[in-house]
């Protein structure tokens, strides 16, 4: 496959997919919560742009609606809810730097190569364009999971989760030219409900352990460590 055989719109989809991947990396290493939420909003906007481009390229009318839905939900509503949540939790100035950001980045790069290696035999040669985007989407999903592993802060973990969802959506849009509208609405609704539930949980967690550091959730285990007894 070479780039020259693709139409300009297809090239634009590739460019946007690459930018989504880039934002995943930046999200992974962003220490400030508010900035991370903004990055997430931009990622949602890019996904919406991908959907719009695919709609333009394939003349798929229901995708216009899908793009609009993505934009409203992922680029506006959820970031706004997260923003409000962070303000109400008093975490505006919260920062949490990774210990070795360069290593996290290298791990992310390894995940990208791994997902490419994984996807290549799965999709046949003729669909190189789709396959390459699926590889990138898989990488976005895996990096989202990596972010959930590396971050201690619960809100940052939610961001990781949401960016995983972004990756899945990217794959769905580019590989199948969009899911049926019913499914899409269902997924969007699920995400929204998940967001609300997260919000409720945060307050509960903070009431019981006075922090949103998920490492401290260990304290909720029933067996009490000796160390805790000493303390």
């Amino acid at each position: 496959m070479t780039l020259t055989v693709l139409t300009l719109l297809q090239q634009f989809v590739l460019l946007l997919a690459a930018l989504v991947l880039f934002l995943s990396f930046v999200l992974l290493a962003q220490p400030r919560l508010i900035a991370a939420i903004h990055l997430f909003a931009w990622q949602g906007a890019l996904i919406a742009a991908v959907t719009l481009t695919v709609a333009l390229a394939g003349h798929a009318h229901h995708l216009y609606f899908s793009a609009l839905l993505t934009l409203v939900l992922k680029a506006l509503l959820i970031p706004w809810m997260l923003h409000r949540l962070v303000r109400r939790l008093g975490l505006e100035r919260h920062t949490e730097a990774l210990r070795w950001p360069a290593l996290a980045m290298m791990a992310g790069v390894a995940l990208v190569i791994f997902s490419y290696w994984l996807v290549v035999p799965m999709v046949e040669q003729g669909l190189a364009f789709t396959r390459n985007i699926v590889a990138v989407s898989l990488a976005v999903v895996l990096i989202g999971l990596l972010m959930m592993v590396l971050r201690q802060q619960a809100v940052a973990q939610v961001l990781g989760f949401m960016s995983m969802e972004n990756g899945l959506f990217l794959a769905a849009v580019s590989a199948t030219a969009g899911m049926p509208l019913v499914v899409e609405l269902g997924v969007a609704f699920d995400v929204l409900v998940a967001m609300v539930l997260f919000g409720v949980f945060f307050f509960q967690i903070r009431e019981s352990i006075d922090s949103l550091d998920v490492d401290r959730l260990n304290r909720l285990t029933e067996t009490v460590d000796n160390e805790d007894l000493i303390q």
Binding site: M1, T2, L14, F22, M105, Y116, A135
Partner: protein
């Protein structure tokens, strides 16, 4: 024909040395405008050079002969590197001497002597500057090479001429890899040329300087050469970025019209780049030294993503 091409190459080399102070003057002028000052004349760097060239030379008692040889070596290495890049025209004989890896090597040679010269006087500042310069260059080098590799793998060549040629024949393509490589090279250029936010060329505050710390003991003609070399280096990075990513306008044959158009195009591109540099320097603040690794980490990330998006998205397997 060979004589003509060599002649054009020679004129181009002289042109690069002659244009470098102008670029610096332009950047300073735009910065002054942005700060609501009128600023010195565009030609002020030429006047500075002239003045420094005729001034008396001072050499510390503690310095060895290497101290006096270094300005010449630094200047010549950087100038030679700059002479091999396509400024106005492609396919000049000088560009065969060095591909982009040799170019990086020549710049490294200049840096090596610059750092040694900094340490030669045996003062704390010189050593400090040398140590920091080597740290920054060590972190910038991988990002630079990966970014360059991405372009080279697209064109299947490390020769700058071939890369630009390939870009021109392909016409306008939206390459994610080029976008990332551009970002990486911009960051690397800021770090390597010692601009804000990595280093501040205008400061002489002891604890923050890097490049200036190494030049602290230089005076007169030596200082002029060192400063001039640094300006040429900035121009070199500017031309590389302008002509690699936006090659349109560069002369592909040696007719006077094409050459004239090429010169106009490159001047225009450099003017834009200089203005962008001035805006970013006005908007950004200088970072602490130990924030610089994160900055260059970003450059490396961009370069690696450029490489991966080239391999995954643009070529496929």
């Amino acid at each position: 024909m060979i004589i003509v091409t060599w002649l054009i190459a020679f004129i181009q080399a002289l042109l690069i040395a002659a244009l470098a102070p102008l670029l610096i003057g332009w950047v300073r002028k735009v910065k002054a405008w942005l700060q609501n000052r009128r600023g010195p004349s565009l030609l002020q760097p030429y006047a500075d050079l002239r003045k420094l060239l005729v001034k008396e030379i001072r050499v510390p008692h503690t310095a060895s002969p290497l101290f006096r040889a270094s300005p010449y070596i630094v200047f010549v290495a950087i100038w030679l590197a700059a002479a091999t890049i396509p400024l106005v025209a492609l396919d000049l004989p000088t560009s065969r001497i060095a591909d982009i890896i040799v170019l990086v090597g020549l710049l490294a040679l200049a840096r090596f002597f610059l750092a040694l010269a900094g340490m030669d006087a045996g003062t704390a500042f010189g050593g400090m500057g040398a140590s920091r310069e080597m740290l920054i260059s060590a972190l910038a080098e991988p990002a630079m090479l990966v970014a360059v590799f991405t372009l080279a793998m697209t064109a299947h060549s490390t020769s700058l001429v071939s890369v630009i040629d390939h870009h021109l024949t392909d016409g306008f393509l939206l390459r994610p890899s080029y976008l990332f490589a551009l970002g990486a090279l911009l960051l690397v250029a800021l770090a390597e040329c010692g601009r804000i936010p990595v280093d501040n060329p205008a400061t002489h505050l002891e604890l923050t300087m890097i490049h200036e710390a190494m030049l602290l003991e230089y005076a007169g003609r030596h200082l002029a050469l060192m400063e001039w070399a640094a300006w040429i280096k900035l121009l070199l990075y500017g031309v590389i970025i302008a002509n690699l990513f936006f090659p349109w306008g560069v002369a592909q044959d040696f007719s006077p019209l094409a050459l004239g158009l090429g010169l106009a195009a490159v001047l225009f591109k450099l003017m834009i780049l200089g203005a962008v540099l001035a805006v970013s320097e006005t908007a950004l603040a200088k970072m602490r030294l130990f924030r610089v690794p994160a900055f260059l980490n970003l450059a490396l990330l961009l370069a690696l993503l450029g490489l991966l998006s080239h391999v995954i998205l643009e070529v496929g397997a």
